[in-house]
């Protein structure tokens, strides 16, 4: 009796705990748009303090022109979670914007991707009195109340990767989801040919962005390349190199005629390439997908990874701060305007889309610098 109770107790403890952990072990993948978070709150850890700079905004500086030295706009960028390569790169763009645009811009966030913690960080910033907030939301819905609070105080709100956001001023997207998915498929076809079997990897079956791209790619394939055949369903392995590698090894045996792998999620292409490299099958199977250039470089070089795609998170960081200052200066956003030198933007329902998708090849991977 007692032994069994203990067993149950410890097992459930272990279970609960691992659930807690899964929250902090999640993605390095290109972050999703408005991921509905189902995980339990993540383990607490002290938030890394943003570099606190002076110049508290004493009054809402809505229409005031920038006065150099005397008053800089304070623009806070809140990311999903700190301490992963993707957002480390984004921070570089934020810092560049701070220098070049003469604003007090900095990046902050919580160490876990818990929506509640993110809301708390934002609340603290509102209390501190920032002029603008640039947010990469973990969960669009759960931020609506704090956004409303910010709005009431006259704070400008820019979001990224959250096209359906309510309560913000504008959302900035650096890729067009549909085009991005289609482009990836085109690249796959370029390397595997327009017929044969291919597999699709995503981070998990609940990451909206990855699945949006996969939807677009698969619909496009059906229409344009009828001889392509997807094997199995989407494999949820793209968040860990290890999982993607194992999955690829298994797929090679399950589908001996496999010719291509399309992987959304930054670790998926790496794991697939690693497996092909080990098996010496780089010539037989083409891997295309979203990658971080510096991690992908060796695989691009030896040919086990054919082509990478992504957008530059530094550009996103820069773009958001630029847009915030643009609005603080009292300018109006219009369709077809140029954003931060990143390209022309289309405006639709407060969503600004710039097609700034990057192609990552062995030639440019090193020079991209992230």
């Amino acid at each position: 009796m007692r032994a069994r109770t203990l067993f149950g107790l410890s097992l459930s403890l272990a279970l609960i705990f691992s659930m807690l952990l899964s929250a902090c072990a999640t993605p390095t993948a290109p972050p999703a748009t408005e991921a509905p978070k189902t995980e339990a709150p993540a383990t607490e850890a002290p938030a890394t303090e943003p570099a606190k700079t002076e110049a508290p905004a004493t009054e809402p500086a809505k229409t005031e022109a920038a006065q150099p030295e005397a008053k800089k706009y304070e623009i806070a960028v809140v990311v999903k979670l700190t301490g992963i390569p993707w957002f480390n790169t984004m921070e570089k763009g934020v810092k560049r914007a701070a220098e070049e645009l003469g604003v007090n811009a900095y990046q902050t966030g919580h160490t876990t991707d818990d929506p509640a913690q993110q809301a708390k960080v934002i609340e603290d910033l509102i209390a501190k009195g920032v002029d603008a907030l640039c947010v990469v939301p973990n969960d669009a819905k759960s931020l609506e109340p704090v956004f409303k609070k910010a709005k009431d105080k006259g704070i400008i709100i820019i979001t990224h990767e959250s096209p359906d956001q309510v309560g913000n001023d504008y959302d900035l997207e650096l890729i067009d989801n549909k085009k991005f998915g289609e482009h990836n498929l085109d690249m796959l076809v370029k390397f595997m040919g327009d017929s044969g079997e291919f597999a699709v990897y995503v981070g998990s079956l609940t990451v909206p962005a990855h699945n949006m791209w996969a939807d677009a790619a698969l619909a496009y394939a059906k229409e344009k390349y009828p001889n392509l055949k997807q094997v199995g369903d989407r494999y949820p392995v793209s968040e860990k190199v290890d999982d993607a590698r194992k999955q690829t090894l298994d797929l090679i045996k399950a589908y001996p005629d496999l010719k291509g792998i399309l992987a959304f999620g930054s670790q998926g292409p790496i794991g697939a390439a690693q497996a092909l490299q080990e098996k010496g099958l780089a010539d037989k199977i083409a891997v295309v997908g979203t990658v971080l250039p510096s991690q992908a470089l060796p695989y691009l070089k030896d040919g086990s990874l054919k082509h990478g795609t992504l957008w530059n998170p530094a550009d996103a960081g820069y773009g958001m701060v630029w847009l915030a200052k643009y609005l603080l200066d009292g300018n109006k956003v219009t369709d077809g305007m140029d954003v931060a030198g990143l390209g022309k933007a289309t405006l639709k329902d407060r969503v600004l889309v710039i097609d700034a998708a990057l192609d990552i090849t062995k030639e440019n991977a090193e020079s991209l610098g992230f």
Partner: protein, 331 residues
């Protein structure tokens, strides 16, 4: 023969055999040396960690922190190695030593402050992992040294499959085999090993019998740490990058494999043989589902069912046995 049916190991083995037959029928590629070699390489990481967890569970404790230990150990090791150079031996030794050290800290806290191991290791997991996040800033390490990459690609047996593609037994599972051998000798042929069983079976008796409980605790948790350090290196060999967050979160997978193999969360019970079967079952399920071309949406359902079947049957038999013991001889 009848005694065999008392052990969960027997049922897990049976499930493995049945599952293997089913998979082979649907896809003969399953029962090939190539697939076996690939599986061994892929599951070396889980396999090494599972042995450490087995030791901790037998001793009556539990360790949650080992993934953080593995991450800290291998991150520090590769960081130093990328700056100062090294070779495969220094990498393995250094990572193992750091892991053992962190494990030792766990043991000291558990033993001297008498805090339950689950609480202690939950706390140290956060401390270890948190410190790593602070000091690394989340930066990943790419561009592993050439010699490191070459070692990971070394095969000790090289063969060619019918399609003309070369394959082989990687050097990586050899690390696992060495750990298995060491663990087997320790558990069965040393008083240290028997002491770990005794400790998990009955702490008070172990004390009275004259076992050095402190020494046993120190050994068990630092051995777990040492294996975590080695497993961390194995993970990096397979992925060729050091990520700060790729291992933390896999604790339950490892513990589940060990428990599946018959080890008890209440201590004292568990065999090396069973743990290997548990890891094998986990590996075969993952591999087999793809080979059987089952939709990925069904994976979790399937894994859960297999666990229930393999653990449930033996648990049910034990229950029946207890009930039989209770009954009375009636005239």
């Amino acid at each position: 023969m009848r005694r065999l049916w008392k052990y969960q190991e027997t049922y897990v083995a049976l499930v493995i055999v049945l599952l293997s037959c089913a998979i082979t029928l649907l896809n003969p590629n399953f029962l090939t040396l190539e697939n076996l070699f690939d599986l061994l390489k892929s599951y070396t990481f889980l396999g090494i960690l599972s042995i450490g967890v087995l030791f901790v569970l037998i001793s009556g404790g539990i360790d949650i922190s080992f993934t953080a230990v593995a991450t800290v150990a291998v991150y520090t090791t590769m960081y130093v190695t990328l700056q100062h150079g090294g070779n495969i031996a220094t990498v393995l030794l250094m990572s193992a030593a750091i892991g053992a050290g962190l494990g030792l800290i766990n043991a000291v806290i558990i033993h001297f402050f008498n805090i339950p191991s689950i609480i202690t290791t939950i706390a140290t997991l956060n401390v270890y992992y948190g410190l790593l996040t602070v000091f690394s800033g989340g930066t990943w390490l790419y561009n592993m040294p050439e010699w490191f990459r070459r070692f990971a690609e070394t095969n000790v047996i090289s063969l060619v499959n019918p399609d003309g593609v070369p394959y082989g037994l990687s050097v990586i599972p050899l690390i696992w085999f060495a750990v298995i051998l060491a663990a087997w000798v320790i558990l069965h042929y040393t008083m240290l090993g028997r002491g770990i069983y005794a400790l998990g079976g009955n702490l008070a008796s172990a004390q009275r019998t004259g076992f050095n409980i402190l020494a046993l605790h120190l050994f068990v948790y630092s051995f777990m740490g040492l294996l975590a350090g080695i497993a961390g290196v194995v993970e990096v060999m397979l992925a060729q990058r050091v990520a700060t967050n790729s291992m933390v979160g896999k604790e339950l997978d490892v513990i589940a494999a060990v428990v599946l193999g018959g080890a008890s969360l209440t201590g004292g019970v568990g065999t090396l043989w069973g743990t290997l079967l548990g890891v094998a079952l986990v590996g075969i399920i993952g591999n087999g589902l793809t080979l059987m071309r089952i939709s990925s949406y069904w994976y979790n359902v399937f894994i859960g069912l297999v666990i229930i079947v393999s653990v449930g049957v033996s648990a049910y038999r034990r229950k029946l046995q207890r009930r039989r013991k209770m009954s009375v001889e009636v005239e």
